[in-house]
Each structure stands twice: as C-alpha cells, then as structure tokens.
Amino acid sequence: MSRRQLPLLLAVLAALAALLVPTAASAGSALRTELNEIEGEVMCPVCGTLLELAESPQATREKAFIEKLVKQGQSKDEIKEALVAQYGDAVLAEPKGSGFSLSAYVVPIVAFIVAVILLAFAVWKWRRAAGSGDERKPEVEGPSDEDRRRLDDDLARYDL
C-alpha cells in the first residue's frame, strides 16, 4: 500500500464507522421502542390499567419479564403469548379476535346496524304517515241542511 492510498483507506474506514454508529444507536432505540409498544398494549392485571400507566409491584415484575424477553430477541407477538401464558387472556388490552372475545368487536357493529335499520324504519313510517295525512279527507263535514237553512234565515234577518 502506497502512502497516497493510506489517507483514502482511512477516509473509507471513517465513513464506515460513521455509518455503523447510527445503526447501533437505532438498534438500541428499536429495542426500547418495542418494549414501550408492548407496555401500551398489555394490562397490569392487578391494577386493571395499561401496564405503561401502572407502577405497582406486580407491574414492575411484569415489566421486568417483558424486558427479559425483549433482550432475548423475542418478537412482540411471542412476548404477548408468553404474557398470556402467565396471566391469561385478560392481560391483553385489546381482546383477541376469536372465541367469546370476538363479541367485543361484533356486538358494537351489530348494534350499530340494528340501530340504523330501526331509525330508517321509523323515518320511513313517519314520512309515510305524514304523506298519507295530506291526501286524507278532512273529517269535519260541512253544515247540515238544517244548519244551512238556519244560517240563511239569520243572514236574511240582518239584511246583509
């Protein structure tokens, strides 16, 4: 290697080092982000709140458990599965999309559809009643022959 090539080689090494430093830093932050993400999606079973909001002794142990699994390189789903194995389904902040838990998603949708149908039916009935009301004949009939005759007599008497 010539003396001319040495600065070039150093420059290349420095550039590689500069590239590697942010990569290592981002790897660290990715680990942290994953831990934070999980804390926001699971519950502290004893406190009944999201784990990220809980500071009870049980929550502390649960966080330590998650941290251990994150360090082992487990994925978010694997960690959630491990938490379910320890604490049951109730540890998940969002219910599972299967079995009885599915009702948490289905019931509001069904209730909304039923409400819309009932509302549409009520509006249709109301409009129908209002429409037929215009066509209906007035229930008040005109004066009877007797009344008409009396009215004519009265008008004649006053000479209007």
Binding site: V46, Q58, R61, F65, Q86, Y87, A90, V91
Partner: protein
C-alpha cells in the same frame, strides 16, 4: 298496539336483567363459612402437571393465596412453613396458590423461603376471584369436606395460626 307495548316492556326487562347480571357477576362475593370452596385444575408451580384442591379432600387445608411481588406474603411465608412442619402429621397441609404472578418469580420465592407444601399457579387470578379475594395474601382454612371453616383477608402469623387453625386440627397420630 298492545303487542308493541309487550315487546317494549320485554326489551326493557332484558336490558335491566343484563345490567343486573353484569353487576352481580363482576362483584366479588367472598366465600362464606360453610360454603364449598372452588377447586379448579391449576398448573403446579415449579413442576409440570396440574393440581387441584380436590386432591386434598379428606384433609384440613389452609389455602394461602400469595405472590412473589407481595411484601406481606414474604412476611408470612416463614410462619406458614413452620406451621406446616409442625402440623404435617395432623391430616393437614398448607396449599399455596401463587396468583397473578410470573411462574418463574413464584418458583424463586418458593426456593428462597423453602416452602415445603404443595404449590399451584393461578396466573390470571381467576381461582382467587372465585374465593372472593380482593388482594394478596389471603388465607382460607378448608374442612376435610372442602367447606370453608375459617378465613382471613390478609397475612397470618404464628400466633393467629396457633389460635385459629391449630385447635381445629385433629391430634397427631402416634407412631407405634
């Protein structure tokens, strides 16, 4: 019109029924003295397999709900271990139920305090809720028939165990 009123009343009654059911089922009704204790299958702590309080029918059982993260549980553990050692031969056992806890943490706790009695793991706390527990530790003494004889919502100590539990136990069988 009358049919509509009946349907409206039925819907209202059903809604009120659901609300009442929701409130009743959510509420923790504590196991009363004389009531039979729930005994579902639970994983054994620190070893493979399942266990149940049913296995101890015919024995006096002190069911101790605990967790490794619970400070009062640490305080009462030595008293329970000692009491188990002293009354083991009197048709009696303590059964520890590690509740809402990481099983590895529970197993470490058991090792640390040298717990010699059977241990089960109630991870989601459902078994504790069936007893009506509101926290840990809680202790329930079951008769050999599985009915509740005495309970305390909190930790026990040696004095309490001697005063409330020991007098109920049958005398130890003498080895001839």
């Amino acid at each position: 019109m009358r049919a509509r009123s009946v349907i409206a009343v039925l819907i209202a009654v059903a809604l009120v029924g659901f609300l009442v059911y929701g409130l009743v089922s959510k509420g923790n009704s504590r196991l009363a003295v004389g009531e039979k204790a729930p005994s579902p299958e639970l994983p054994k702590l620190g070893e493979p397999g399942q266990g149940s309080l049913k296995e101890y029918r015919g024995k006096w059982v002190l069911v101790n709900f605990w967790a490794s993260w619970c400070v009062p549980c640490r305080d009462e553990a030595p008293a329970l271990t000692t009491f188990q050692g002293e009354h083991d031969g009197q048709n009696f056992t303590v059964v520890g139920i590690d509740t809402q806890d990481i099983s590895d943490d529970g197993a470490k706790f058991a090792k640390e305090f040298g717990l010699t009695y059977p241990l089960l793991h109630d991870g989601n706390g459902d078994n504790g809720h069936e007893f009506g527990t509101t926290g840990v530790p809680e202790n329930y003494l079951l008769e050999p028939s599985g009915k509740l004889a005495w309970d305390v919502a909190g930790p026990v100590d040696a004095k309490m165990l001697e005063e409330h539990v020991a007098p109920l136990l049958p005398p130890a069988k003498k080895n001839s």
